[in-house]
Symmetry: C2
Subunit: 430 residues, 2 copies
């Protein structure tokens, strides 16, 4: 690449404008450090007239050919989002040998393997740090530093909106609805928060992380997810009394040579590294025999933070040999996906039951018959009914689900049982 690196950018929203600003502000540092002058020469936008403070209107074009068809462009930055026509455009650029930096989580979670393969065939490069946890350099660390570390598991708080809501529920005892409304007021949640609170956003990110960590093709459809929208503040409180903190976790791990990736609410022990990650922060815990536990924590969203990750990727492309670290990101290990229900975990189980003699004995008997044993019980009278909270010993999930089916049918059990996995160092709280 010549001393001046010519960049074409697709899209110019908050992140794109942040990229232009950061490239301007850090031009001196970047040139001293890399020997390159980075110049954005063309920016594709839909509406040429929209307000973009500080952006030179002469850079703008509404014609994608001005970027995709320009052989003098060295790197393409994609911050327009969407799947179509983005997918097709990036395939074309990569196949043509032009390295691409993208912040497009949805695209990566659906077409990441194809795009990486196109990059390899085209002798180009594809970087996507900004697609997961913004500026936390988890993709680079997995793809480069831990390339040979034989990762066993990736456990992440990868959605800031839900972590903020859960942190507030815990801190102030407020309800889910109130905490969500507060998150919306403060800009931590969108007007339509469904993708965040329902777990789909976290599932997309976990698909990307798992595919890099395990060198295996994992797409968003491979990731079952449960969000936090059904959680009750009672459970957050009771979990707290028992020494646990409620989190929406993405859990990707190797189970008997297969890859299991899920997103669900989970309890972590109070002294677990992820327990203290509060507010809108994200964190990813990487485990392997070789490196034990490495955790990366930071802001998982934000225009400047995301733009900063994009710039970081551009610098990584400049510093890398073409194609390096690409093969490691490809699905070359080809591990199978784990069957559902094959996992083992400790569980938190809440049952609202009739407050009658013998109810605990009857419920314990049902659990025992399913081979599920109880570590801790907390019973509380609540007028005519009682609340039973149990921490169940580590058991195969299928067995716990079977017990749950039988509990649902009992006359003693007055409401839908609440079952939440306990994730972390062993089954006992602190």
């Amino acid at each position: 690449m010549s001393d001046t690196v010519r960049i074409g950018m697709l899209g110019c929203g908050t992140v794109g404008q942040g990229v232009l600003r950061i490239l301007g502000e850090t031009a001196g540092t970047v040139e001293r450090a890399t020997g390159h002058r980075l110049e954005v020469v063309r920016v594709l936008v839909r509406d040429l007239q929209a307000s973009r403070p500080g952006v030179d209107p002469a850079l703008l074009t509404a014609d994608p050919e001005d970027i995709l068809g320009d052989d003098t462009i060295d790197i393409i930055i994609e911050v327009m989002g969407g799947l179509d026509p983005t997918h097709e455009w990036l395939l074309r650029a990569l196949g043509h040998g032009t390295p691409v930096v993208t912040a497009n989580k949805q695209l990566l979670a659906r077409h990441g393997p194809d795009l990486l393969a196109a990059a390899e065939e085209g002798g180009s490069d594809l970087r996507f740090e900004a697609s997961v946890c913004a500026v936390i350099p988890v993709i680079k660390v997995l793809r480069e530093s831990l390339l040979a570390a034989e990762i066993d598991s990736v456990t992440g708080i990868v959605n800031g909106t839900t972590n903020y809501i859960l942190s507030e529920m815990r801190r102030s005892g407020m309800s889910y609805d109130d905490a969500l409304a507060q998150a919306q007021d403060l800009g931590y949640a969108e007007a339509d928060p469904a993708d965040d609170v329902g777990g789909a956003d976290a599932a997309a990110k976990m698909a990307i992380l798992a595919s890099i960590a395990f060198h295996t093709r994992v797409l968003i459809d491979d990731v079952p997810y449960v969000g936090i929208d059904e959680l009750q503040s009672d459970d957050v409180d009771i979990a707290g009394e028992l020494g646990f903190v409620m989190k929406l976790l993405g859990v990707a791990r190797l189970v008997d040579g297969a890859v299991s990736v899920r997103v669900h609410p989970a309890l972590v022990p109070g002294d677990h590294p992820l327990a203290s990650v509060s507010g809108a922060d994200n964190a990813v815990l990487l485990e392997s025999t070789m490196v034990r536990q490495i955790m990366l924590v930071g802001p998982g969203a934000g225009g400047t933070e995301t733009a900063s990750a994009v710039v970081s990727d551009v610098l990584s492309i400049l510093g890398s040999r073409p194609g390096s670290f690409l093969a490691g990101a490809l699905a070359d290990a080809g591990l199978p996906m784990a069957a559902e229900g094959s996992l083992e975990s400790a569980f938190y189980l809440r049952l609202d039951v009739a407050d009658q003699p013998g109810v605990l004995a009857r419920i314990s008997a049902v659990l025992g018959e399913s081979g599920v044993s109880i570590l801790t019980v907390l019973q509380r009278g609540e007028g005519e009914s009682a609340r039973l909270v149990m921490i169940l010993h580590r058991s195969p999930e299928a067995r716990v689900q079977e017990a749950l089916g039988r509990l649902r049918d009992m006359r003693d059990v007055r409401a839908e049982p609440v079952l939440i996995a306990v994730v972390g160092s062993g089954e006992a709280p602190r």
Copy 2:
């Protein structure tokens, strides 16, 4: 570099043997991911007869020329330690164009800038992830991901021995001596722990981190340090009551365009990200306007963990364009070092005083006259004497030291005052 990468290794202790083992175990992954077969072709040792389980004796040599003088060697790994002749040997290799990976913290903290300059002149590369916090990829993240992030501060728990001792003192209330003895029993502290508990080890690591973060020449002699060997468990306990956690911190920051780097015991608020880093773990908190706060946590020592960082550096060299990310690590910004005493901080002050009427008033008056104001006071009778603990508002350090000089001369003050900086988000505990 050809498909087979020929590696020469200087030294073959715990880390070196770990490198050989990891390269063996991960050969398949590495070849799939990088296209290279990594082969250690020669290992320099002092004693050819020493026991090295699993190491092929045919690789061993006692003659450094077998590595330094062999033009067919592509990469040199230095895990022999020491300053002399290591410094000279690495200068020779780098100047000759051979990339070097080293785990040698003391060498880097004293001669890092010269070695980097030699690498640049020789068109080679110098990587040293393993020299700071073992496998936590803080050097790569600072040098590559955050190259243009304009770091404002690097705050680190970079010594596992002291973090283990302080964690145990806090957890169980044991004395410093008992906690140290326990750390020695468990292998977290050396038989001679002076470098760890005295702060010199942390100072070397902070010099390396600061030089990369601020693109400035920072050597170990630029880093004043105070260890934890004079700390009393009382202060750990009282700090806990006030909502703080005691840590041995390395603090590197920009102060009015100058670089300040220090190592000292410090109190962090209980909800500060570094407060929950316990046991022998290390953590580094990186702050900048662009990325806000990123924290990396993990094991900061261990043979396998350190060896894994060495292997990671070898892979980084294979994946990088020659010389890339090198200029950024050089001292090209050339910032001055901040003058001592020019810093501002909140402080914890403990005074053991005569339990007489008016003593608090007299001490407050002295502080007030020096322009130091008090945020919190805790007074406790202890027989004939009393213990006064104060949290002082943020003040210039020189001013607090001046007040301390006057307090030492007071008849009311019965023992050497204890002064500990409060580091973290504002001055108030949670």
